[in-house]
């Protein structure tokens, strides 16, 4: 029997995360300061904040590549100590291995886990189909457009069947139209696969369009400034972006973020 929601621990919890960058010849820089939040299973949560506020670094922490100086991160009640199969990242600059074909790139995670060749190829084919790259299985990354490269990045992240998808400004390098298209397809895939998504972006519009909640971070040192619920109906489509309700939410996020972007307006 399912326990009541209120008693369940949050799916992902970050508690009092602090990170200080220390380097030679320079004063230490506090990148993150007492960052805390919780995310429920299946949620789509975006993080927005000024450049250099530590959003990407925080994503790398959740991925298990960066260790915080203090604070706790846990997922499913287990502390995060290094990379794990339940978490996968879609990288900003795609991060595809240029000497591998599309299929071999999608297989990467499975290969490192020791999955048999036939099995992982089959799984890769399913995902290539899911992201709409049929016919490009044997192409190399340099033969693909930016949008197609990020489809490969998404397929690779999904291949290992993670519970959480961490996305670090995945569409920042794409042109505006490809971006709109990819956002719509990401929403479809999210609705189909029921993953929990943590999405870092610079774009308020993108955050509002995709998310259930938007976490606005402060300028460095990064903390949670405010969490804004996006109560817009799903499934969402492009036309929804033209409604007054959508614009009202965008301006609410902007009002919060503005104080961090414009020096002096912060108390």
């Amino acid at each position: 029997m399912r326990r009541p929601l209120a008693k369940m621990p949050p799916f992902i919890r970050a508690n009092d995360i602090t990170l200080v960058f220390k380097s030679k010849n320079r004063d230490p820089v506090t990148a993150l300061n007492n960052l805390s939040f919780e995310i429920e299973r299946g949620e789509f949560v975006s993080i927005v904040g000024p450049s250099g506020c530590g959003k990407s670094t925080f994503l790398n922490m959740l991925l298990g590549l960066v260790r915080p100086d203090s604070g706790h991160m846990q997922m499913n009640g287990t502390p995060i100590k290094g990379p794990g199969q339940e978490r996968a990242m879609v990288f900003q600059e795609f991060g595809l291995l240029p000497w591998r074909t599309v299929t071999a790139n999608v297989e990467l995670g499975l290969e490192l886990k020791g999955v048999a060749a036939a099995q992982r190829t089959q799984r890769a084919m399913e995902l290539i189909k899911l992201v709409g790259l049929n016919g490009f299985e044997r192409h190399y990354p340099h033969e693909l457009s930016g949008g197609m490269k990020q489809r490969v990045g998404l397929a690779r992240a999904l291949a290992t069947e993670p519970e959480v998808l961490l996305m670090d400004e995945p569409f920042a390098a794409l042109d505006a139209q490809t971006r709109d298209l990819m956002q719509a397809e990401l929403l479809q895939i999210w609705e189909r696969t029921k993953k929990t998504v943590l999405f870092v972006t610079h774009s308020i519009e993108e955050a509002a369009y995709l998310s259930d909640r938007v976490i606005v971070m402060t300028a460095r040192p990064g903390r949670t400034k405010q969490i804004i619920d996006i109560n817009l109906p799903r499934p969402r489509d492009y036309e929804m972006r033209l409604t007054p309700e959508f614009n009202e939410i965008k301006s609410r996020i902007w009002e919060v973020l503005k104080e961090e972007l414009i020096p002096g307006s912060r108390r």
């Binding site: 991925l63 590549l65 990379p83 199969q85 600059e93 291995l97 000497w99 990467l108 190399y140 290992t160």
Partner: protein, 265 residues
């Protein structure tokens, strides 16, 4: 028409060989239009005489004997330097401890001429094959090691993070990212190493050997057999060209995924 397309397709080849043929013909014709003074004529030869000497040495088995000795020293020394230099370069690039331990030796050995070791090698290993192998190895191992190390140091950080995020261990990281990413550096190192290895063979045989192509050149020179000297020189030149082509072939096979460079106007 057909001839014209053939010519444009093989332009660089035709120009290259054509120029060599012209130079050889000019060289051959020198005695026809200029009488060398007696003292100089002793040290002069023509391509046809070199070819005749080559044929002679081929028939009496001299070349085969010397070539075999040199080839063994070259292959053994180069092989050893690949087996040692490549893994050591990879490890030095990844481990700061190893880097700190080995860097002083690598820097000082690489910067000093290897020939200074030859007398010691001859004392220790005699004038047989081993002193030559050691000299070839000492020459070839550093370009390979240093280039591999540089390749590892320049590895793409994002790709390393991607692979680590899937829980890869250090060995998998090496195999999946670090090694493929360093390949262009390693190939460049291999090309340098081949040059150094040939140099090592020749120098080793000049001074510390009684066999091999280098010895053949040195002893022919002491006996004023200029055409035999040229035979040796030509063999080394031909080998260098062949080996360079082989490395290029290897490179283009390993880098078949690379985008072709766009043609410019």
């Amino acid at each position: 028409m057909k001839l014209k397309t053939f010519c444009t397709e093989h332009e660089s080849f035709i120009l290259g060989t054509g120029f060599i043929v012209i130079l050889l013909a000019l060289w051959e014709s020198v005695p026809l239009w200029y009488t060398l003074p007696k003292g100089m004529a002793l040290f002069f030869t023509t391509p046809s005489k070199v070819a005749a000497a080559f044929q002679q040495l081929l028939i009496n088995g001299e070349i085969e004997k010397h070539f075999y000795v040199s080839a063994i020293a070259f292959l053994a020394g180069l092989g050893l330097s690949i087996v040692v230099g490549l893994p050591l370069g990879l490890l030095m690039g990844r481990s700061q401890t190893l880097e700190a331990l080995l860097d002083p030796y690598v820097t000082s050995f690489n910067a000093s001429p290897r020939i200074v070791w030859l007398p010691l090698m001859i004392l220790w290993f005699g004038i047989g094959i081993w002193s030559k192998i050691v000299i070839v190895f000492a020459g070839a191992v550093f370009p390979l090691l240093i280039n591999t190390y540089a390749g590892v140091k320049n590895v793409n950080r994002v790709l390393v993070n991607v692979v680590r995020s899937f829980g890869a261990n250090e060995w998998q990281l090496m195999k999946v990212v670090v090694l493929p990413n360093s390949l262009p550096y390693i190939i460049a190192g291999l090309r340098l190493a081949i040059g150094r290895a040939i140099l090592g063979v020749v120098v080793g045989e000049f001074f510390g050997s009684s066999q091999g192509l280098g010895y053949m050149i040195a002893s022919a020179a002491t006996n004023y057999k200029v055409d035999v000297v040229f035979v040796g020189v030509a063999i080394f030149m031909a080998l260098s060209v062949i080996l360079t082509l082989a490395v290029k072939q290897l490179e283009s096979r390993l880098a078949s995924w690379r985008p072709e460079t766009a043609k410019t106007f």
